[in-house]
């Protein structure tokens, strides 16, 4: 990955920072943290929808990474390694809380819930051009944990379905089905919010 050659805020390349961190250099650890903190924390926050939990999990992910940094040989991109580790930390946390990392609804059969909605069917309630990042962020927070996990991994973090299947332990078909249902739920949530807002004004 090309980002290994990019410089940190301290002027270190990522590869230099990694090597110096292996030697116990405090500034190198902080440079690596500064470089990746937003991505890791945002991932944790999206998947837990809880600020305190997200901070604890981001801290745990970085600590696990730094404890193992001596074993990093550069075969894979550092960021890939860190983000996969972060995902595992979050999923482990969700499992400990007995929250489903995949929706318990395993079926790929469509239910009535999945059929096209007629209640907000008026074309003027299309979302086009009317959602921003904050609206979507709040809607994602209100998703059931199982749907939220798949949506964040695929649409936010960019994992492919075969990777998600391996990470969370489900079939590829299930990952696709859950993702589609998550998007449909998000659309419903956003349209309801929009309808409520239109009703007030």
């Amino acid at each position: 990955m090309t980002d290994r050659r990019q410089q940190t805020d301290d002027g270190l390349s990522e590869a230099e920072a990694i090597e110096r961190a292996k030697q116990g250099d405090a500034e190198a650890f902080q440079a690596l943290y500064d470089r990746h903190k937003r991505r890791v924390y945002s991932l944790c926050l999206r998947m837990t929808a809880n600020t305190a939990e997200a901070e604890d999990l981001a801290q745990e992910a970085f600590l696990q990474l730094f404890r193992k940094i001596g074993t990093f040989r550069g075969e894979s991109a550092f960021s890939t390694w860190l983000h996969r580790l972060s995902v595992n930390v979050v999923l482990m946390h969700l499992r400990k809380k007995s929250l489903p990392v995949v929706s318990l609804e395993e079926t790929t059969q469509n239910t009535e819930e999945d059929s096209p909605k007629k209640d907000f069917g008026a074309e003027d309630l299309s979302l086009a051009g009317s959602i921003d990042r904050l609206q979507l962020q709040k809607a994602v927070e209100s998703l059931p944990p199982g749907y939220r996990t798949i949506f964040v991994l695929h649409d936010v973090e960019g994992y492919e379905h075969n990777e998600i299947a391996g990470i969370v332990g489900c079939s590829i078909g299930n990952s696709k089905s859950q993702l589609h249902k998550a998007r449909m739920k998000l659309r419903d949530i956003l349209r309801i919010k929009r309808a409520e807002k239109a009703g007030k004004s």
Partner: protein, 211 residues
């Protein structure tokens, strides 16, 4: 392909690019709207990737853990902190550990007496920020510490200014939470943690500034 079939197919062919899907979408405004909405959600989702900034608490806790686990190696492993300041730090030699210890004591005091502090603050004005006063009592405040850092290692000054500002904000936040919820054990633990982080920051600042 009808509307239900199109809907079912979207889980498999997400970009609605198949000929059957396209044929249906060409004549169905409702499904076209659905697909446009889903595409909007997908494109906006990428903006959620790295938008949030963790609080300073996260790095401070990581740094403390790394030092406790000896993953961060201070320069001069065998030197004791107090001895290493030696004559090079002159007046600051005894002040830093004293200030750090006092900060921890202030944290313990704040933790244990937050309720009585709240009850009496109408008659006895609170020291604000308490951490600065505590360190000043020990003979060194933030400004003096930063001046010492600037004298020894000017390039570190800005970093420590920023870190001190953040940890002071953390202390004030934690203090206000305790003031608002004096019986909240978690809030009191956070306040104690904040003071410990500032104490650690003082030690780190001196340690890292050594040549």
């Amino acid at each position: 392909m009808n509307c239900v079939e199109l809907h079912q197919s979207l889980a498999e062919v997400e970009d609605s690019s198949s000929a059957e899907q396209q044929a249906h979408l060409a004549g169905c405004p409702a499904c076209s709207t659905l697909v446009a909405d889903l595409n909007l959600i997908i494109s906006t989702a990428a903006q959620l990737r790295e938008v949030d900034e963790p609080s300073p608490r996260v790095w401070n806790s990581i740094a403390i853990a790394l030092r406790q686990e000896r993953l961060i190696r201070p320069p001069g492993e065998s030197r004791s902190l107090v001895a290493s300041f030696g004559s090079r730090w002159g007046r600051a030699r005894w002040m830093v550990p004293a200030a750090a210890a006092l900060l921890i004591l202030v944290g313990i005091y704040a933790n244990q007496h937050s309720l009585s502090t709240r009850l009496t603050r109408d008659t006895y004005p609170l020291p604000v920020p308490a951490a600065n006063v505590a360190v000043a009592d020990a003979g060194m405040n933030d400004a003096e510490l930063l001046q010492e850092v600037a004298d020894r290692t000017p390039f570190m000054k800005m970093q420590y200014e920023d870190n001190l500002r953040r940890v002071n904000d953390y202390i004030l936040d934690a203090q206000s939470t305790v003031d608002a919820n004096p019986n909240d054990a978690e809030a009191r633990r956070s306040l104690m943690d904040a003071y410990q982080q500032k104490a650690m920051l003082f030690e780190m600042a001196m340690d890292r500034s050594l040549p």
